[in-house]
Structures are given as C-alpha cells and as structure tokens.
Symmetry: C2
Subunit: 116 residues, 2 copies
DNA sequence: TATACTTAGTTACATAAAGTAACAAATTAA
DNA sequence: TTAATTTGTTACTTTATGTAACTAAGTATA
C-alpha cells in the first residue's frame, strides 16, 4: 500500500497544507511579518513545533527569515511570493468555515448560544 | 500555551483539512461516489487509517455511507453537500500546485526530466 | 557585581497519531 | 472443500506532536 494515481504536485501541495499548524502560520503572516513569539501566542502552538514548522516552511520556500541586528536582535518571519500565493486557499477555507461550521461545536454545551 | 485569538470556526475548518488524508479522500470523491477499496488504492492509504478517516468524516457530515444489499454487498461513500462545498478549496490547491510546485521535487534525481 | 528579564529557540521525555502486516466475517466461485 | 474478494479490525511499531524545563545573548535593575 503505497501507490497512488494522483498527480504528485497536487499530492505535495496537500501534504504541505495538511502538516499541522502550517496553514495557521501562513494565515497569521498574511497580515504582516511576525516575530516568533507573536506567532506562538496568536495561534497557540508550542515553541518546539513552531520552530520545526518554520524551518520546514523556509525549506519549502514559503517563508523568509530576517535577522535585524538591533539590540536586542529581532527575528522576523514573512511570506515569500510562494507563501503569499496561498492566500486564496486560506480565504476560501475561511469563507467555507463561515458558511458550514456551526458557531459552536456540538460537544461544547453552552446553552447561552443558539445552535445551527 | 493553549490560547489562540483565532476564530474558532476557522480553526475547526483548518483542523479538518489538516487531518492527514482527509483532503485527498474528498478530492477523490469529487468525481463520483467510491467504494472503500477504490479510495484505498487511488490515494494509497492504509485500511486502518481510511476506516478511521471515513468515520470521522461521516461524523463531521462531510461524507455519507450507503449500503447496497446486492450480493456481494456494496458499500459506497459519497460527499454530502457540506463535503462537496469544499470543492473550490481543493480546486484552488490543485491550481496552486500547478503554479508553484516544481514538476519533480529536488531530491528525486531523475535527469530524464527537466527541472524548473 | 549579582540577579532577574526577554527573545528565540533547544532538549528530554510523554502521549497521540499513523503505518504495517496479519487476521476475520460474509459471500461467491472453482 | 478451498480459494478469492470486500470491508474492515487487531496488535504492534514508528513517527509526530505536546509539555515543561532549560539555554544563550543581551539588557535592565538592585
């Protein structure tokens, strides 16, 4: 069990986007370049995994890492053109979530909110 | 480390799509309803994980499971409206992969193909 | 000078998810 | 009776992710 008949480029794209946190990191950087700590607290990812993910994404050419030797040093992550070109995908997902995901998931039993 | 400032509906959508195999299973069913074995061999997923995924996706209302008591029995999986509504997302990813993923990944050194 | 604080991570360890291979139940075919 | 097919399941291994403590470099504070 290892063959597929799918287009390898499509498979690759899907595997990038289905890495946990990758989509959220890109989404976060759509607004502006971000520092490590900002990304971490915005999306709630651990330092270890964020560190791994940023390295992967740099490797894949989605993200650029800039060092500003201010004092203290500032390290800023931003999207490359390739990374930014995923914006439509993220916006589609955002729109879909508004259209199809109910405001509260059914296992949160907060009766002060109406359910779909 | 567990808070995020993101919209929970968007987070939910991203978590669905970043489950490994989910996007490929949906993509596969865009063409037509499919049987278990067909999905398995089309995308190269193990029986165990496909079984888990289809249950998850049924639970999430993305996929419908129909039993046709022919002999032998036929079990067919198809997309619900909610599942099908992800088509634009998948098509965007497909398009993006054609625009931005090179034909061969750089670690496959097949020199009979030209590289980007 | 010693202590504490901040940023950008890393390390060691624990838990969860995914992969592999063998197996099972139901039915049909040889 | 034996084998084959379909739709899974079970037991076990490997990989990915999460948690918490720690580090290094620089700055500020007492």
């Amino acid at each position: 069990m290892k063959q597929s008949t799918l287009c390898p480029r499509f498979e690759k794209a899907v595997s990038l986007l289905s890495q946990r946190w990758t989509a959220l990191v890109i989404y976060q950087m759509l607004d502006a370049p971000q520092r490590f700590g900002a990304i971490q607290s915005a999306i709630g990812v651990s330092g270890k995994v964020l560190s791994d993910r940023l390295k992967d994404m740099e490797q894949e050419g989605l993200v650029k890492r800039d060092v500003y030797p201010e004092t203290p040093v500032i390290i800023e992550y931003s999207l490359t053109d390739k990374g930014r070109s995923l914006e439509p995908v993220l916006r589609d997902i955002e729109q879909w979530s508004q259209d199809w995901i109910p405001p509260k998931t059914s296992d949160e039993t907060d009766l002060t909110e109406s359910h779909q």
